[in-house]
Amino acid sequence: MAVTTLIPFGPQHPVFLEPLNIQLKLDEETVVGAEINYGYNHRGMERAMAADFRRTIYMCERVCGICSFFHSSTYCRGMEEIFGIEAPERARHIRIVMMECQRLTSHLLALGHTAEAMGYESLFMQCFREREAIMALANRVTGNRVHYSLNTIGGVRRDITAEQKAEMLKAMDALEDRFAPLAKVFRTDRTIRRRTVGKGVLSRADALSYGAVGPVGRASGIGQDLRQTCYHGLDFRPIVRDEGDSYARTMVRVDETFQSIGLIRKALETMPDGPLTVPAKGNPSGESFTRQEAPRGEVMYYIKAQGKVELERLKVKTPAFVNVAALSAMVPGCEVADIPVITVSVDPCICCTER
């Protein structure tokens, strides 16, 4: 008769950046079941954000520290829909450029973290070194490394000057040059392949059932990327693979990094001149559903406003919420030593999951 052992993975674990608890049921070294326990990072943000719709712009940036500009852009687009205004063309281009910058920092963090989970410290350091260049660039353009505070309802608050544009294009060339050998390591290194190929497979049916989005969904064959509908005129095509294992997820992120560099260049070249904001007067009233493709997947904001400064309901749907739940389908059948790498390859953002 098999004896199963129960091991708690987390909430404090060197591999985790944020607290999450997974109760692993083990038969010798093989995982036969997993139960995910949340609740270590719940801040009650949905109720706090509904208190004053002007303060919410700054609060929703702080839901997550890696995809903060995506939350802020989605909220502002939702409020613009309720007010019945549309941000000017230049503001939308600036939003695209800064969103892709933040996607670069997020993917470099995820890749570095994947390397770290395997113990490949030097690759982790190199990824973060490239990331520093982008954070410094964002600091110069927006005034802050992570929480850009660039959005306002109706547009953006700061412009990208011609000087900053030239600097960004130079930084993109440098990044492409320096990241190419690191991408080759991720693609071809024998140890990395042995620890990721065939591990943590998420089948397409399971991915659809859990609603997996972002690189996790695209690595399992679900070919949806919301940027197809949002990025007009930038000729965007999603990157899809069908193996569904940790290697596929890592490769989707590596390819998306190069894709983002190309998107930033195109968006900067085609940026039109014009105003930066459109005024939004009075109090909002109405309902809206807005979506955006954050680095981890789809972010959706449901806003219901009632004609007052307080919003009636604000619901934030984050990609990590569905991707972390999909972990319970990836984990059975794997060995205990594979679990850290599988968990990190899903790129969990617990502050997004639990808001």
Partner: protein
């Protein structure tokens, strides 16, 4: 066997899910009038957002969507925690611990801001 107030919405979603490209985005729950619960099931069908709404009392037991989409279970657990609703076969306790805050998104709880 009493039918749950959202049984019609669940049947509609079950129909929609037969098309292979439909995905559950989220379930939005709100106390739209004092004591009334509105559930908005947001689905992505081929890239477009579709919503299915269901309204009932806040304390009625609702049917769970987890038999159609496995991802719905965590969403329903969150609604149980934050609004104190009830779903058949689903236990709360996702984010909130016993002995702490109870149903913080209810209007009655919004007294002390």
């Amino acid at each position: 066997m009493s039918t749950h107030p959202n049984a019609e919405a669940i049947a509609k979603i079950r129909e929609m899910s037969k098309d292979n490209g439909t995905r559950l985005v989220t379930i939005v729950a709100e106390e739209y009038v004092p004591g009334g619960l509105e559930l908005i099931y947001v689905l992505d069908a081929g890239g477009e957002l579709r919503t299915v709404r269901s309204r009932s009392g806040l304390d009625d037991e609702q049917e769970s969507l987890s038999s159609v989409f496995k991802g719905a279970e965590n969403m329903e657990r969150e609604i149980i925690d934050l609004l104190g609703a009830r779903f058949e076969g689903v236990k709360g306790g996702l984010f909130l611990m016993p002995g702490g805050v109870v149903a913080p998104l209810r209007r009655a709880a919004a007294g002390g801001e």
